[in-house]
Each structure stands twice: as C-alpha cells, then as structure tokens.
C-alpha cells in the first residue's frame, strides 16, 4: 500500500485529535489507528516511520511510535462506534 496514502490518512486522523484535550491527542490517534487499520497498513506505517517518517505530523509520529511499542498487546481501548452511510 502506498506510503503516501497511509501518511495522508494518518495525518487526517491527527488533525481531528490534535485539537482535543492535550492528554487525549497521542493516545486518541494511536487508538484510532489500532482499532481501524488492518495489520498490513499498520506494518507499512511502522516501516515507513523506521525509514524516517517524512511528512508525518509530530503527534502522529508520536502515536505511531506508541502503537509500535504496544504492538501485539491489547493495551489500548476497544470502545467502538456507530457507523454506516
């Protein structure tokens, strides 16, 4: 999956959370990516971050690092939401 597309999507998520309460910004981004991104997308964004992570906004970078540190354990919230068109 194209890194550009993933970076764009991650930054979009970041823009919503970066105006929330300070202590919710990074966990909010990390939790959203964990809950809604397929593992191959998360793996790809981890690899992109390892190669420098150009273009990722700072809180998004921090969130992906947090997520990477928690990879494989279910530590983050799984509260879900209503959706549909």
């Amino acid at each position: 999956m194209s890194p550009d597309r993933l970076v764009y999507m991650a930054n979009q998520i970041g823009k919503f959370f970066e105006v929330q309460r300070a202590d919710e910004v990074v966990p909010g981004i990390a939790n959203h990516i964990k809950k809604f991104w397929d593992p191959r997308m998360r793996k790809a964004i981890f690899a992109y971050l390892d190669s420098g992570g150009d273009g990722l906004d700072p809180p998004v970078k921090e969130a992906i690092l947090l997520l990477k540190a928690h990879a494989g354990n279910a530590g983050l919230s799984t509260e879900t939401s209503f959706q549909g068109t």
């Binding site: 998520i13 919503f16 959203h32 397929d38 879900t80 959706q83 068109t85």
Partner: protein, 546 residues
Amino acid sequence: MIIGANPTDGHPVFASRMKKGLRDGAKLIIIDPRRIDLVRTPHIEADYHLPLKPGTNVAVVTALAHVIVTEGLVNETFVRERCDWDEFQDWAAFVADPRHSPEEVEKISGVPAESIRGAARLYATGGNGAIYYGLGVTEHSQGSTTVIAIANLAMATGNIGRKGVGVNPLRGQNNVQGSCDMGSFPHEVSGYRHVSDDATRAMFEALWGRPLDAEPGLRIPNMIDAAIDGSFKGIYIQGEDILQSDPDTQHMAAGLGAMECVVVQDLFLVETANYAHVFLPGSTFLEKNGTFTNAERRIQMVRKVMAPRNGYEDWQITEMLSNALGFPMHYNHPSEIMDEIAALTPTFADVSYAKLDELGSVQWPCNAAAPEGTPIMHIDGFVHGKGKFVITEYVATDEKTGPRFPLLLTTGRILSQYNVGAQTRRTANVVWHPEDVLEIHPHDAEQRGVRDGDWVKIASRAGATTLRAKITERVAPGVVYTTFHHPSTQVNVVTTEFSDWATNCPEYKVTAVQIMPSNGPSEWQQEYEGLSKAARRIAEPLVAPE
C-alpha cells in the same frame, strides 16, 4: 432541521410524514448547497435555508453552536444532569471563539450571518428540535466531525432522549441500519462490538467452533489499494455495484481487474459483474424471507411471496458457499439465523420471528430490560455514561478549486431512480429520468458558452465524462450537481480518492471540476462501452459430437 439530506427525493416515505408535520405547523431549517424541493413546495416553505458551499458543514454547525452558547441559549439543566460538565465548558469556550462567529463563517461558507443566527435561535428556542441528516453530511472528508458537531448541538439544547427530538440519520439505503447492526464492518461483530474484545469473540468462537481474528480488516477503498499492490486477491460482493457506486472509477476498475477471484452475487449483470470471474444470481426481496431494519432501529419482517427464480434465497447461496469452502453451515429457515443473532447479541437478545410476527416489528435494544423494544433511546442516560462534548475544528478539504478546476461538483439522487439504478433503470421509471444531467447555474453556463441541453464534458483530476447540461438556479454559482444513476455517464469517474478521516466514507459531495462544451463521449466512456459489451457476450452452447 435537515442537514445534507433531500428527503422528497431520497427518502420519499419518510418525507411524506415530514411534510404532514410541516403542514401542521412545524418550523423548518434546511442546510444544503442546493435549493431542494422542501425549501419551497406547495403548503411548505422553509423558515431558513442555509445554502452553504460544499465542504463547509463543520464550520456552519459550529457557528450555530457559537450563537447558542454566546447568546445564552444552552439548556444548562440538561447539560449539568446528563453531560460531562468539564468537557462542556471546554467545548463552550471553543465554539465561543470569535473565529466561529456567523460573521466569520460567512466568509468560508457563503451563508449570510443573519441566516445562521436566526436558524440557531429557532433550533434552540422553538420547542422540540429534531435534526435529520443524510449523506450530504457523511460523504465528506470531515463527515464524522459534522456528526459529532450535530450531537454537540442536540446535547447543548437538551434536544435528545424524548419524543420529537434527537439526532436522526436518514440512511443511504433501506437496510444500512440492519447491515451495520449485524457487524458489516471490517472491525466489528454484531451489536457494534469490536473484534478485539476477547469476551465477545469467545461467544462466537464457542458457538462456531472456530477461532476468530482479533484484528480489523480492510475497508473497501483500502481493499482496492491493496489489490493493486498485490496483497488482496479475492472478493465476494453481494448486492452492491461498487464499480458504479464507489468513487474514482478508474482506480476501482484497476483494483477489481488485479484480483484473482471476484465473485458477484446480484439480481442483474451489474457493472461490477464486468470484472467478475464468477457470477451468482441473487434473489429479490419478494423471493426471500428475512428482516430489514430501518433508520429508527425498527426490525421488520420481509416475507417471501414467490419462489426465487434462481432457485435459492440469498442466505442459501451464502450457506452453500460456506459449505463448499469447508465450514459446515446449516439453517432450515432464516428464523434460525435470527435465533443465533439473539443468542450472540445483547441488544437483540429477545428478538425472534415469533415476536416480530406477534408485534409486527420491534425497535432494538430488545432484551430482558426492554422485552417489547425501545422506541426512544437515551431517555434517562447515554449508553456510555455522561454525554461527551467533543471539539470540532473545521478543516477545509484538500479538494480545492483552482484555475484548472474552478467549480465544485456535488452528487445526489432523484426520486424515480435508486442509487446506481441497477433495479430502477430496468423499469419504466427511465421515462422520468432517461439520463443523468448536469445542473449548472446560468452564470457559469454563460461564461462557458453552454446552452440548456448541450453535451458538456465534466473533468476533474481523477477523470472525465460527458453528459447533457441543465441550466438552473437550484445550484449556486460555482457549484454543479448531477446524479449517478446511469453507467453510460458513470459520474464516479470524476470523483476522487478523498474520504472521511474516521470512516473512509468517500467524499462524493466535493470534487473540483471544470465544464466545457463537448461533441462526444470521453475516452473512458468509449473504452468502457467496449469492455462492457465484451464482458456480456454469451458463449454458444457446446454441441456434443454425435
């Protein structure tokens, strides 16, 4: 208040009820870029029409909140009792900021400040205030944020949890609600429970005798991206024509074309079937038993009136496929499937075909606490505790107009056709809508030398198609509009890959385009017509040698 919905065209049954209420004296606020019929129709005239620029919903709804907070119209009793007060205060300070004032938002949205102020005052003080919203809210890069902003508005005014109020989504199709309820998401099981929840997964694993993946899967746009990069190889599509309905058609075609196995189950050889390796004929709603769930969470029986012409109801086809793939599945009747849903889904625990037969329908949650269902939600409290006020900062879409693409395209549906027209185009309804047309304001048409009925090319950075122009003042200058009912037009060739930040719902409602006179179909239309004809060829039956 109706936001981004056109009920008389998209939801005619609901619209007839709404019109009755309006004729009886209900006030009406419409927030929509187009002058939809309800703005002014016999016996009905909207008190306010806020004709906002496509893509500015968040700014306008936040401006409504600005007026409610700064003019002292908050229902403080409700907020203190039912919501998180600290979060409310943060939110109130955010919306009260002068940059969210109607006067500032007018510069972004084009909506006169006085209209925003008047609409906010009416919603907050006019008695019961209900908000109805549609795809004109969700199909944006900030669609989810607008829904949150709407919820903030309802909580701030205490318009939630009783008859005649609330936040009411008008769903895109008749059974979107039911599909969502049943976990038709890549991250959920039935009842909106995340797949990573161990206790929930354990219930399914115990009944089915198979381990379930705790990880979310891909959404449709991501599936297509993954197909193109080679990591997603097969898809089973039931009753959805994604080639015509999803955005950026050429990208979708490339993704479907890259897959090793595309199985389409539908009533007709729909456009997606051009890319199918296997086509399974589906059954209509008259040929199967089951339930549909409408937007008010009402579970309703669907009763078979004739044997399916293809020999099988849709659920039987899925069952046979499952058996062939190695997971034994056997139900004698869909009522047994509902029993399984009830056993696995707390909000459906008391739902059964016997109860639906007895009561006619029920609204979930339907369980020991509410054995006859729940007509109104959030009466005494919210499901997750105190109501949360969430900050909704307006972020302009990256789909921007400029010298190459100076107009904004927004798309929608009309009364006589349904979605991609797979069913309605094959009926006499085509008399009313034989082709998609492009609505364009007289000023924009004149600048381009376009006359009413002319063929025009509509082009975006994603692609181009041609259709006839209809000159009308229903759209504002700078905005054009069309429907997506006909594959000969296939307007989603023009829409882009942008999508909602949270759900990836495509941004159908905002595409920067240019319009110019045309004398023939676009390159894509010519190629697609050839492909479509070739894909529909039927082989001569083989004749056995004597």
